[in-house]
């Protein structure tokens, strides 16, 4: 019973508690807007304990970002294995919709993206951590998937993957984060259809 297994391994229970509290606070209030008092209160520990584990506020933030990038949000927001291609159009449509669903319905994920963009000027190394563990694998995975569809005849699958992801991420940023859906509504199906139309030209993928 000493090494109880309700939680685990590299981090002490207290460290994990602290990181959980820190996640809530930093995702909600940003770096400068977060106080160490409230992190400690949310985590249910004293402020001194926070400092003894992470040194200072920057250290805590850095540890949090690396944990979030490498663990909590590392699952790609692209649908993983697809049913062997019945209909290529349906497969592509599913991929886009899965990615949009995951982004739109995960407010923590949106808050993390927002936080990383917000602090990218002041913490460039952490921004790069985000790029390395989230943006890069996402692009690589989609590049591989697009490459595997030979009917698409894509001359540059990686650049095409960036266009695809950029279109979807920008859609979520503008419509959801920047409140664009009220003043410039656009159904997501139109975006996905237009994307598929662009992909369909040099291929056998016709409506």
């Amino acid at each position: 019973m000493s090494t109880d297994s309700t939680q685990a391994q590299p981090l002490s229970d207290k460290a994990e508690q602290i990181l959980n509290g820190a996640m809530q606070e930093f995702l909600t209030h940003g770096y400068a807007g977060t106080s160490m008092d409230r992190v400690a209160a949310t985590a249910g520990v004293s402020k001194a304990t926070v400092y003894s584990h992470f040194g200072d506020k920057q250290g805590l933030f850095s540890a949090l970002v690396q944990q979030l990038a490498q663990q909590k949000f590392a699952r790609l927001f692209i649908s993983p294995e697809q049913l062997p291609t019945h209909n290529l159009r349906e497969v592509l449509e599913n991929m886009a919709n899965t990615m949009l669903d995951n982004l739109i319905h995960d407010s923590d994920y949106q808050a993390f993206i927002r936080l990383m963009i917000a602090e990218s000027g002041r913490f460039p190394e952490l921004a790069q951590t985000f790029a390395l563990h989230l943006a890069k694998p996402g692009i690589e995975t989609l590049t591989r998937q697009l490459s595997s569809f030979e009917e698409l005849n894509l001359p540059d699958p990686e650049a095409t993957a960036r266009i695809w992801i950029g279109a979807l991420v920008h859609y979520v940023i503008v419509q959801e984060m920047l409140q664009g859906k009220d003043i410039m509504p656009m159904e997501r199906d139109r975006l996905v259809d237009a994307m598929l139309h662009l992909l369909s030209t040099n291929s056998k993928l016709n409506n």
Copy 2:
């Protein structure tokens, strides 16, 4: 000479000084990271003067964002009138490159985008102001331009415009802001070429 025209109208000289100082500070340090003391110092006025003009910190921030959205950054980042279409491919290439140049070389514009995304959760009305005065006109302008190129045969020009802009903006966010260019480099010409390739399929626009 009383109504001197070097500057103008709705704002006093002092108010403009203050907004200039506020712009530097908020763009550099974010909302929570900006202190009213430094805004006053940067603007060259006393703190009390700042408060007498704008009420409180939120009021100043709100006034600043609205000014930036409606004036300083309202010029669209898309090339305006194009040489009558010699070669459609060249025209589209120029449009994309002009937009990328404007985004990449205007660090104030990047900082403004970053700030709006950063504060969109805490100031949703201001985020919407940004969407209304910048994102929406940008999309509308590009939509009109794409619609005018009948050879492209686009079934949904507005959705296509969003894909185009999303691809370019996302490229700048990932490569420039998030420092992706070091760990996942991609020349901008590849992105633009891939975009033009996608557009070229149902049209006479061939390489």
